[in-house]
């Protein structure tokens, strides 16, 4: 084993894409498969510069369909394989990711969201929430971490590999173009020194011995003949997912003690604006709290409901036209809370805008 890419821990100032490449290295990722698309490409560029020094591999594929399926192949072979994509590339990724969902293949994909629909912008959005949580012809048996900044990108990229391999669901690190391209400080570290042990990988094919002679043959299926057969398979995946969900869910709340005038619900980088809005609102005599789900799949619904129960109103803020809102409505179903929105598809949200929206609504 070659030397560790990150030793001890140190403070750095870099772009989010570079952070992801370092995190994947630190997480002992073996191979990256990918296809260039802005603003994801720098992850590949950093990876291709760093990986050979540590004996890791890379394949640039012909498109994102291939990037997804080769990643699936890499994981089937027993390697910690990952990819990164965004926007229209993420659309193409939904096909291989539905295969990963069905076959319990622990792929890791980093998604710095760009604007949509279509080619849209190469800049930023939160418009890939629906696709990343529930894309493909599947049931959303995926794990989606929505990061808010560089420390998150580092922490959750490492964690994504472990969650994926422990629970065997395709796992996504859902960032955005802002996080991809901006530079800010963070601490990178050797996971082992933080007591983080990388979950061991194991091959699904090419096991020791001769199949059918001294060991069972590995037949990996995603196709079934009867409704009953399929139903049983999907229900068993669903059961595993439900069981794992409480262990996987993560969230943060800010100033949600006591009765709130308004609870701001936001995820990802928009959560930073929400956090920034709280003191401004306080100065204006408004008691606001903020709840941020870190996992969008599984969604910490119970925790969100508890926070919502203490607020007079809800404000959902996102850089999309209601994709997160849909998840919120599902989580808060049956609660009698008025929901206001600040929906800015493909555009950033600032603390000031949130404050303005709340004051305007009063």
């Amino acid at each position: 084993m070659s030397e560790k890419p990150v030793k001890g821990s140190r403070r750095v100032f870099m772009t989010g894409n570079e952070v992801c490449a370092w995190a994947a290295l630190a997480a002992e990722a073996d191979i990256m498969y990918g296809y260039p698309i802005t603003p994801q490409t720098d992850i590949m560029q950093y990876w291709t510069r760093l990986a050979p020094k540590y004996g890791r591999k890379f394949l640039q594929t012909e498109d994102e369909i291939s990037a997804g399926f080769t990643t699936v192949g890499g994981v089937i072979a027993g390697k910690r394989a990952f990819s990164a994509t965004t926007g229209p590339g993420n659309t193409l990724f939904q096909e291989p990711m539905s295969m990963a969902e069905m076959m319990r293949i622990p792929t890791v994909v980093i998604i710095p969201q760009r604007g949509g629909p279509s080619t849209a912008t190469v800049i930023y959005s939160q418009q890939e929430v629906t696709m990343t949580t529930f894309g493909g012809n599947g049931e959303g048996f995926r794990i989606v971490y929505s990061t808010a900044g560089h420390q998150d990108l580092y922490d959750y990229t490492i964690k994504a590999f472990n969650t994926a391999w422990k629970y065997r669901f395709p796992t996504f690190v859902l960032g955005d173009g802002y996080q991809a391209k901006m530079r800010e400080p963070l601490t990178i570290y050797d996971p082992a020194e933080r007591g983080i042990e990388m979950v061991k990988t194991e091959p699904l094919v090419g096991l020791p011995g001769t199949p059918g002679v001294d060991r069972p043959v590995q037949y990996l299926r995603n196709t079934y003949n009867t409704e009953e057969e399929l139903y049983d398979v999907v229900m068993s995946i669903a059961k595993d997912y439900e069981k794992a969900a409480p262990e996987i869910m993560e969230w943060q709340d800010f100033d949600t003690d006591g009765e709130m005038d308004v609870l701001i619900l936001a995820h990802g980088v928009v959560s930073r604006a929400a956090q920034g809005a709280l003191p401004l609102l306080k100065d204006a005599g408004i008691h606001a709290g903020h709840f941020r789900p870190i996992t969008l799949r599984p969604m910490p619904e119970e925790q969100m409901r508890q926070a919502a129960a203490k607020a007079k109103r809800i404000l959902v803020v996102e850089s999309a036209y209601g994709q997160f809102l849909k998840l919120v409505k599902e989580a808060l179903y049956g609660m009698d809370k008025p929901i206001d929105t600040l929906l800015r598809p493909g555009a950033g949200v600032t603390a000031e805008e949130i404050v303005h929206r709340i004051q305007e609504g009063r």
Partner: protein
């Protein structure tokens, strides 16, 4: 066992999975013959423990539990990238991607082209039976001019739908030194096995991409009897799709 019974017992390649035999292909289908030659090739190369067999969707999928080798069902057209991903991650594995003409030349054409261009060290085997069999006999990239299918009920009109894809010719044109490209036929099994063996050996030698198209039969969708079926494979198809080796590593001039 009496002598008669021994004689009646079908000869099966050692690497076949006997529990899934008789296989699920239609009577007269060429897949069984191609897979038999592939099985013998695997046996003769002694690589049952090293092969990972990927199946495309379509009739190729029916081969998913055909062998006692680790096998992966993929998606339609996506077998080449799945096997490529496995091979890149674990070069010691011998990756075989098994697909039909639709999977290789239509929906997965970009993967075939680019794997060949990159000279991926995998072996792709493509069954050409001039139609989409599993979905009930629609036009495939390989459907012959004038051939009737469910989506060309008056016969394929090249003016409207182009001419049949010449896969090995295309792959040979884009693949570089180290690639092995051939077209065999179920009408010449000895030759077919030779091609399949060479295609796998070529991967084992680390030379480059290996590709074998197999001219095959589909009497169910062709609606042909035995005689007409063989005649279509041996005459009509062979006339358009030339059997032979198109690229052999080390040979300067390939036929």
């Amino acid at each position: 066992m009496t002598r008669e019974k021994v004689a009646l017992a079908p000869h099966m390649p050692k690497c076949w999975n006997p529990d899934t035999k008789p296989h699920k292909f239609c009577p007269g289908c060429g897949h069984g013959l191609a897979l038999k030659m592939l099985g013998e090739a695997i046996d003769e190369l002694g690589i049952q423990d090293k092969v990972v067999f990927g199946c495309d969707i379509g009739c190729s999928l029916l081969a998913w539990d055909f062998f006692n080798v680790d096998s992966v069902q993929t998606h339609h057209g996506r077998t080449t990238p799945v096997i490529t991903g496995i091979k890149r991650a674990r070069p010691e594995i011998i990756g075989i991607a098994y697909m039909g003409d639709g999977g290789g030349y239509a929906i997965g054409a970009q993967h075939l082209v680019n794997s060949a261009t990159r000279n991926e060290k995998v072996t792709a085997i493509l069954i050409n039976n001039t139609n989409y069999g599993m979905t009930g006999g629609q036009m495939a990239p390989t459907t012959l001019p004038g051939q009737k299918t469910e989506t060309t009920p008056y016969g394929r009109d090249p003016k409207e739908t182009g001419y049949p894809t010449l896969g090995p010719e295309m792959v040979a044109a884009i693949a570089r030194e180290g690639a092995y490209v051939a077209r065999g036929s179920i009408s010449n099994l000895r030759q077919l096995k030779k091609y399949l063996k060479k295609a796998i050996q070529n991967q084992m030698d680390g030379n480059g991409f290996s590709f074998v198209e197999v001219l095959s039969s589909c009497p169910t969708n062709w609606r042909t009897n035995a005689e007409a079926t063989w005649s279509f494979v041996e005459k009509d198809m062979a006339e358009y799709f030339h059997v032979g080796e198109f690229k052999v590593p080390g040979l300067k001039e390939e036929k």
